[in-house]
Amino acid sequence: MKKKTNKNKKLDNFAFQELYNRRKAITFTLTLFIVSIYVAYILIDAFNRELLARKISGGITLGIYIGIGIIIIGWITTGIYVWWANNKYDSLLDRIKRTTGGHS
């Protein structure tokens, strides 16, 4: 009997595993994206101060735009992920759950 449920599981798990891997690829990529932006920002702060001093518009320097920009990018990235996960990902997951009869 154990073998049978295992076989069932394997079939269901294939779709699940694929979806799980896709989510993991997305979340790990996004994490890497945020971490690299941050590290790049610190490196620019440390090694290219002059660049940040450049005035862009009406007194506001590039450095201020970049700093505030990263804060906003961080927020938008969470928004994009939450939108994808709460709509696309969750409904795909629900479909897999339904085909396996509520438990996988």
Binding site: N13, F16, Y20, R23, K24, T27, F28, L30, T31, I34, V35, I37, Y38, V39, Y41, I42, L43, D45, A46, F47, R49, L52, A53, S57, G58, G59, I60, T61, G63, I64, G67, I68, I70, I71, I72, G74, W75, T77, T78, G79, Y81, V82, A85, N86, D90, L93, K97, S104
Partner: protein, 511 residues
């Protein structure tokens, strides 16, 4: 600016504060009727919405230190304050991407639930509980000492009285109202703080024709171009990156933040709550940047430093100059409320590590009587509250600025690596988890002791034995390395077998 009413007994701020305390105690009374089970006490019965939890998370994160400290830092060193803020913020996307969902789906009340999911419960829970408690204690101590100093400065109350007052009101929230009261205190405080800071920022910009650039030009005229550029903070980029990583991954390992994800009903709401929290916190940091510049230009660096060397009073002084006694009174009361709310959240997280992880998980090995566990949770809360009051008084006048940084470094090194590996790495073993947590905790504490922050600034040696101010980079790397190496040399068959099940559960919940 020559006169300020800061430091005198201010009847307006005391009135505002009384209104806040009365309102929150009323909420606590309401919450106490819904706080009879462990699920209600630890997790507000999982009945908080994503938006509410987002506000509460931002409330947990916007401590008095970040409100007053970052505004002060911008006021005194200009651009450097923004670099700090960016580091504090970018941890939130990481929490969302790596931790929030599996945490919500795999655990019940604490992050130790997740680390121990497929590993041997007793050793893992013990180590994770120690990590939680140490993180909470350092954070709590920093908040208490900050609270005493701040309240003395703002209200003119004696330091000890302020500490006992904060400790007692906070205990009332947590003991009687549990997580539900704590969450609502956090929500109210976050709304008051965001509202107050927004009004102050708009008021500041109003004086510059709503052109942020004009304010910046004025700052440049007064303090030179260096005020608009990275300065002391990035003299040593490795140090800044180390600090940044500690802030980033520490956020994903702070017990009182992680515990909040259990207050929402499911992973959908958990995700939403991070989105809202990141938005509120980011908005708040942009506001504090404006306030810092406003304070530097309108109040002046010299005037700020005569009140407090560290610049912590910058935002309050700005409020007084622009809005007079009433606005100062309001913001001072909000700063007080902020401390109360953060301390309450921390105490609840620390108490749950004692009662849920140590008592129920380790001592009773999971065979629990809910009534008993709840009683132990309340006794732990009370004990932790008393410890916080006593430590707060003992550390009066000590240089404790490093303690929040240390709490973050410990969270990033002791808690975060084990949590991450337990969720995503099949071959992670019990021995690996325990070794990783102990290494992270030990390294973070030893390295910060040998670093300039304690070795030079507190112990007054001439040269630090470890060059970086924040050990985050090395203690976290050490913790990951030891966790991975030990797991490679040990076998945990049960853990490997349960990995597939854990993965499924981490997605669909139902634990």
């Amino acid at each position: 600016m020559s006169t300020t009413s800061l430091g005198q007994v201010n009847s307006i701020s005391i009135s505002f504060f009384f209104i806040f305390v009365a309102a929150t105690l009323f909420i606590t009374y309401w919450a106490s009727k819904k706080s009879h089970t462990t699920s209600e006490f630890y997790a507000a019965g999982h009945g908080i919405s994503g938006f509410q939890n987002g506000l509460a998370l931002s409330g947990d994160f916007m401590s008095a230190a970040s409100f007053l400290g970052i505004a002060g830092m911008v006021a005194l060193s200009g651009y450097d304050g923004l670099i700090y803020s960016v580091g504090w913020l970018v941890g939130w996307p990481v929490v969302l991407f790596l931790i929030a969902e599996p945490l919500r789906n795999l655990g019940k009340y604490t992050y130790a639930d997740v680390v121990a999911y497929r590993l041997s419960k007793r050793p893992v829970r013990s180590a994770a509980a120690v990590g939680s408690i140490v993180t909470v204690l350092f954070y709590l101590l920093a908040q208490m000492v900050g609270a005493g100093t701040l309240i003395k400065l703002v209200f003119g109350l004696p330091y000890e009285v302020a500490i006992i007052l904060v400790g007692s009101i906070m205990l009332a929230y947590v003991l009687f109202g549990g997580m539900l009261a704590t969450t609502w205190v956090q929500i109210i405080k976050a709304a008051l703080l965001l509202g107050g800071a927004t009004v102050l920022a708009i008021w500041t910009l109003y004086h510059y024709g709503f052109h942020f650039g004009n304010l910046i030009n004025e700052a440049q005229i007064q303090y030179g171009i260096d005020f608009l550029l990275p300065g002391g903070l990035v003299k040593n980029p490795l140090d800044t990156i180390s600090l940044g990583l500690a802030l980033m991954f520490g956020t994903a390992g702070l017990p009182h933040i992680l515990m909040r994800f259990y207050t929402v009903p499911n992973s959908k709401e958990a995700r939403k709550s991070v989105f809202y929290a990141t938005g509120f916190i980011g908005f708040f940091y942009i506001l504090t940047f404006i306030l810092g510049f406003g304070a530097a230009v309108i109040v002046g660096k010299a005037a700020i430093q005569t009140i407090d060397q560290g610049g912590n009073m910058a935002a309050l002084l700005l409020a007084e100059v622009l809005g007079g006694q009433v606005f100062l009174g309001y913001l001072a009361a909000v700063a007080f409320a902020t401390i109360l709310a953060v301390v309450a959240g921390l105490t609840l997280a620390g108490a749950s590590a004692v009662s849920h992880d140590l008592y129920a998980g380790v001592f009773k090995q999971g065979i629990i009587n809910e009534k008993k566990e709840l009683r132990v949770a309340k006794i732990s809360t009370l004990s932790l509250g008393i410890v916080a009051i006593v430590l707060g008084i003992l550390f009066k006048g000590q240089n404790i600025a490093f303690m929040v940084g240390l709490a973050f470094a410990i969270a990033a090194s002791a808690n975060f690596p084990a949590l991450l590996l337990s969720i995503y790495w099949k071959k992670f073993t019990t021995q690996g988890a325990v070794a990783s947590m102990i290494t992270g905790l030990g390294l973070a504490i030893i390295l910060i002791f040998l670093s300039p922050t304690i070795w030079v600034d507190v112990l007054h040696h001439s040269r630090a034995l470890f060059p970086l101010k924040n050990p985050g980079l090395f203690s976290m790397a050490g913790s990951f390395l030891v966790g991975i190496l030990v797991s490679r040399f040990t076998h945990d068959l049960q853990a490997e077998e349960k990995f597939a099940e854990e993965t499924v559960r981490s997605c669909i919940g139902g634990v």
